[in-house]
């Protein structure tokens, strides 16, 4: 048996474990627990926003239905499908990495990045449309009638929540790009897979937040 060197594709796992960790499975679980702890803070970040949505919606339900009708459901639905598909790509990329299919991993991560960028492109187009339709509070909001104030509150929530989400998508794309670049690099397989698994959790979480934002933003008021 030859000792592995840094040059070989699969360097020893033992050398990749920090001193305070005993085993590879322990390292992997610690990584996941760390990411879930971070995601808990993210749940509460978006949770606070969603609480404010419910409070204002309760105060003025008709305005929120009218505001929901003003959103672009075709773009919203398409964007949801893009994010769901990108999540599938990342989940599949992780499985491919677990089976040492590094080129497939890189291709799937690349596809997920393209889908994420398309999501942001469509979102930007949607913002431009909303600007043209005078729906941006504080910039050029112009609606009259008894629902006007409630519609403005809805769109404040809309812009804060979707911009915050878009920042998360952008960060996620950056993280995925790093893992796509490292896919064929000289890193112990188990270490790469553990890192990718943690990154994937973040990407899926961004998808999860969007699932709820979609239901709260695009679906109200469609039946009336």
């Amino acid at each position: 048996m030859t000792m592995p060197t840094r040059r070989s594709r699969n360097v020893s796992d033992r050398s990749d474990i920090a001193e305070h960790l005993a085993t590879v499975p322990q390292r992997d679980e610690v990584l996941e627990l760390g990411m879930w702890t971070f995601l808990s803070t993210e749940v509460l970040l978006f949770g606070g926003l969603i609480l404010s949505y419910f409070v204002y919606r309760h105060a003025d339900p008709q305005a929120f239905l009218a505001a929901g009708r003003e959103t672009k459901i075709v773009i919203g639905t398409l964007n949801t499908a893009l994010l769901l598909t990108s999540s599938f790509c990342v989940a599949a990329a992780l499985r491919a990495a677990e089976h040492e299919q590094r080129r497939t991993t890189r291709a799937l991560l690349g596809l997920a990045i393209v889908l994420g960028l398309t999501f942001l492109g469509l979102k930007s187009f949607e913002y431009i449309e909303e600007y043209r339709e005078h729906l941006v509070p504080g910039v050029n909001f112009a609606r009259a009638g008894e629902n006007a104030h409630g519609i403005e509150l809805f769109f404040i929530f809309y812009f804060v929540a979707t911009l915050l989400h878009a920042v998360h998508v952008l960060c996620g794309i950056g993280v995925l790009a790093v893992f796509a670049a490292l896919a064929t690099a000289t890193i112990a397989r188990s270490r790469y897979v553990a890192g990718l698994r943690t990154a994937a959790l973040y990407w899926h979480f961004v998808d999860l937040v969007w699932i709820f934002l979609f239901a709260l933003i695009y679906l109200p008021g469609r039946s009336s």
Partner: protein
Amino acid sequence: MSEIGRPPPRTWRPPIDLVICWIALLLLLGLTVVLSYQPLASLNFAVAMTIAAIKAGLVAAIFMELRHRSGVVRAFAAAGFFWLAILLWLGLMDFLTRT
């Protein structure tokens, strides 16, 4: 170490559980959009949130692999949502009970 000499399989297909989950998510997306156009009065909101919760559950269980995780990881994952439940429950208590 022994993996260096082992040739990787020639073809790789995406795991069937992920494919089924992805198709189910897209079908649920179509369903929630179609149902949102049906006049169900106050049920529209309940239907939209229920389908969103099912989609989130699929993502968490299958894409995030929580179904294969130990109790500790699941507890960490559930913690944030437990706190969120407290936030929404107590935050909306007044509105839900006021007549």
